[in-house]
Symmetry: C2
Subunit: 340 residues, 2 copies
C-alpha cells in the first residue's frame, strides 16, 4: 500500500512557495505488534505551521528538511495490532501532512462519532476553538460591557472568540481582510462591527477608524495578526487594557511594519496605560480543555455558535491551501479532506 | 512671609535644561478657616516627573506652564485653622516643588515621628518602596529560585526590589550605570551580580553579558530603564517570563534605541515564549500599602533592608538635582532638604 507525505523540501525565505514542499510516496511498512495503521481523513491547516518551517527557537521544534510537515489530523484505524485500539475507531493525532500514519497509540485521542460533524474536532471544538476560549477567558479575562477587538475575525479562532465574547456581553469589533468576510462577521456571527483592513491606506487612518468603531476605547485586543493592525490598535487601548497575543500571521513571513509605532512608543503606552500584554500557546492549557468542551459543545449542537469550514479535497492541495491561508485567501477553518 | 515655588517655565524638548524651570517668590496669603499652612521639609525627586513636563496623555495630567512642578513632600504644619490638624504635626502630601503650601487637608497623610528617619516615608517606606514591593509581588509574581534582572538597581525602587527578591530566594542580577553603583549593589545590597551598562559597547555584547550572568535565562525583568537594556534583555527571557514595566528612564526624554529589537521581534518573543508584559503605576495599588508597610517597615527597623539617600540641600537645587537624576548621576534615593 502506498503512503503519501508532503515533506518540507527547503526552508522558506519570507513567504512560502510551492518549491518549499514536495509530495513523496512510500511503501507502507509492516505493522508491528503494539502498532496501529491510521488512514488520515482530515488534516487541519493552521497559521502556526509557518513557524515550524523556520529553523529558529520557538515553543516547538522546527520541522526538519525532508520530514513531513506537522499537522493535527483525524484518522480512522484500518489495521490494529494494539489491543487499546480497534479497527474503524476514529483518532485525533499529530500525524502530519500524510495520507496514512503508523502509531503506537501514544498521544492519540479517540473521537466518538456523534451528530456533530467529526471535523469540528479540528476546528470549533478542537485546537482553534480551545485557543479562542482560552484567550478570551484565561488570558484576557474578558468582562461584560468591555470592548474587544479581534483580528482575523472570520478565521477559526477569531470567529469563535467573537461569538463567545458577544455571549458574555462584550462589545465586539472584528477586523478582516475583505468585505465578504466583514459582512459574514457582522451579519452571521453577530459582531457589532467589522473593519476591512484592506480598505485603509495607512495606519493613522486605520487607527481613526478603530476609534470610530470603539468610541469608548479598546479594553481587549485579541491579537492574531500583528503588523499594521497592531500599530493601529495601540493608540486606542484603554487604561488596564489587555492584549492576548495568540498569533501574528502578518509577520510570520518576515514582512515589515509601517513603523507608526516604535518600540519606545509601544513601551510608553504599556506603562502609562498599565497594559497587560500576554503571549499564549494553547498547548500550555490542556487542563482547561474539558471546561471548554463542556461550555462550547452544547452551543455548537444547538447552533448558538456557528462556524465556517473551508475544505480542500486531496492531500496534494495542502501546499496551495496553506499558502492561501497565510495570505488570508481562506474563508473559515481551513481543512484538507485527505480521504473519505 | 515669602513662599518659594519652582515652576515649569517651558516644556522641554528632549532632556530638560535649566531654562525649563524658574524659581518664583510669592507672598503668603491669609490662611482661611479650614486651612493649614505647611512648611515643606523634604521634597522627593523621582523620574516619573519627567513625564509630567510633557503635554501628552498619561496617567496623570501634565504640569501646566507657570504651575509649580509636581512632587511628594513631607512638611510640618506651622499654622492650622483646621481642627483635624495641629501645629507641629508632620504631613505627607503632593505639595510640589515649593517651600510652603496651603491645604484644606484633603489627600494629606499624617506621619508619626518614630526612630526611623522621617524622610524614609518618601523613599524605602514610601512611594518608591511600595513600587518595588508591588512590582515584585503583585505584578511579576516572583517565585523562589527564579532569576530576576533589575535595571536602575541602585535606585530607590531597584535597590529595594532586589533586596526583597533576595529574601524571597531568587537569584538577583542588577544593572547600573557605573562601577561604584555596581559594587554597592553587590557588596552592600547583596545582589548576586551587577552589570555596568556603560561598560558595554553594543546591544549584542550586553545581551551576551546578561546571558553569562544568567545562564538559566531570565524569568523576571524589573523594567525601570528601557532603551538598550530592554533590547539586551529580550533575547534572554525564559518561557513564561514576566516583565514588570515600572519605568523607562532612558526614554523619558525621547532618546532613540539601538534598533536591535524591532517591534516584530519583540512581539514574536512575547508570543513564542509566552511572556507577560505588564505596565503598572503605584497610584493604582493603594490597597496594598498597609501590607507593604507591615512587611518592610520592621525590616528597615532591624536594618535587614538597607537604603541609600542622596540629599541635596535647598529648594533652588531641585532643577540641577532632577537633571542629574535623569542622567543617572544620583546615587540612592534623591531628596531635597527644603528646610529643617
Amino acid at each position: 500500500m502506498q503512503i503519501e507525505k508532503i515533506i518540507l523540501a527547503k526552508r522558506p525565505v519570507g513567504e512560502p512557495t510551492f518549491d518549499n514542499f514536495k509530495l513523496e510516496f512510500f511503501n507502507c511498512p509492516e505493522i508491528k505488534s503494539g502498532e496501529i495503521l491510521v488512514k488520515v481523513k482530515w488534516l487541519s491547516l493552521d497559521p502556526y505551521m509557518r513557524g515550524r518551517m523556520d529553523n529558529v527557537r520557538s515553543y516547538a521544534s522546527p520541522v526538519e528538511i525532508g520530514e513531513a510537515m506537522e499537522g493535527e489530523c483525524i484518522g480512522e484505524i484500518i489495521v490494529s495490532k494494539n489491543e487499546k485500539f480497534a479497527v474503524s475507531e476514529l483518532v485525533i493525532g499529530k500525524f502530519g501532512w500524510v495520507s496514512h500514519a503508523i502509531s503506537n497509540g501514544h498521544g492519540l485521542r479517540k473521537l466518538k462519532r456523534t451528530n456533530i460533524p467529526e471535523q469540528t474536532a479540528l476546528g470549533v471544538l478542537g485546537m482553534p476553538g480551545h485557543t479562542a476560549w482560552t484567550g478570551l477567558n484565561k488570558i484576557a479575562n474578558a468582562k461584560k460591557e468591555e470592548t474587544i477587538v479581534i483580528s482575523a475575525a472570520s478565521g477559526a479562532v477569531g470567529s469563535l472568540a467573537g461569538q463567545l465574547a458577544k455571549k458574555k456581553g462584550l462589545k465586539v469589533i472584528g477586523i478582516a481582510g475583505n468585505d465578504q468576510k466583514c459582512s459574514y462577521v457582522v451579519n452571521e456571527l453577530g459582531f457589532d462591527g467589522c473593519i476591512n483592513h484592506n480598505n485603509v491606506t495607512n495606519t493613522k487612518e486605520f487607527s481613526n477608524l478603530i476609534q470610530s468603531y470603539c468610541p469608548n476605547g479598546v479594553d481587549i485586543y485579541f491579537e492574531n495578526v500583528a503588523g499594521k493592525t497592531l500599530e493601529a490598535i495601540i493608540p486606542n487601548m484603554n487604561d488596564f487594557g489587555r492584549i492576548a497575543v495568540c498569533g501574528m500571521i502578518s509577520w510570520y513571513s518576515g514582512k515589515g511594519i509601517d513603523q507608526a509605532i516604535s518600540l519606545p512608543k509601544l513601551w510608553r503606552t504599556i506603562l502609562v496605560r498599565r497594559l497587560r500584554v500576554n503571549g499564549f500557546i494553547i498547548f500550555d492549557h490542556k487542563e482547561t480543555y474539558p471546561q471548554f468542551i463542556e461550555e462550547v459543545s452544547p452551543l455548537v449542537q444547538k447552533q448558538e455558535i456557528i462556524y465556517k469550514e473551508d475544505i480542500k479535497a486531496g492531500l496534494s492541495n495542502a501546499p496551495s491551501a496553506f499558502i492561501d491561508l497565510l495570505n488570508g485567501r481562506n474563508f473559515g477553518k481551513l481543512l484538507v479532506k485527505v480521504s473519505d
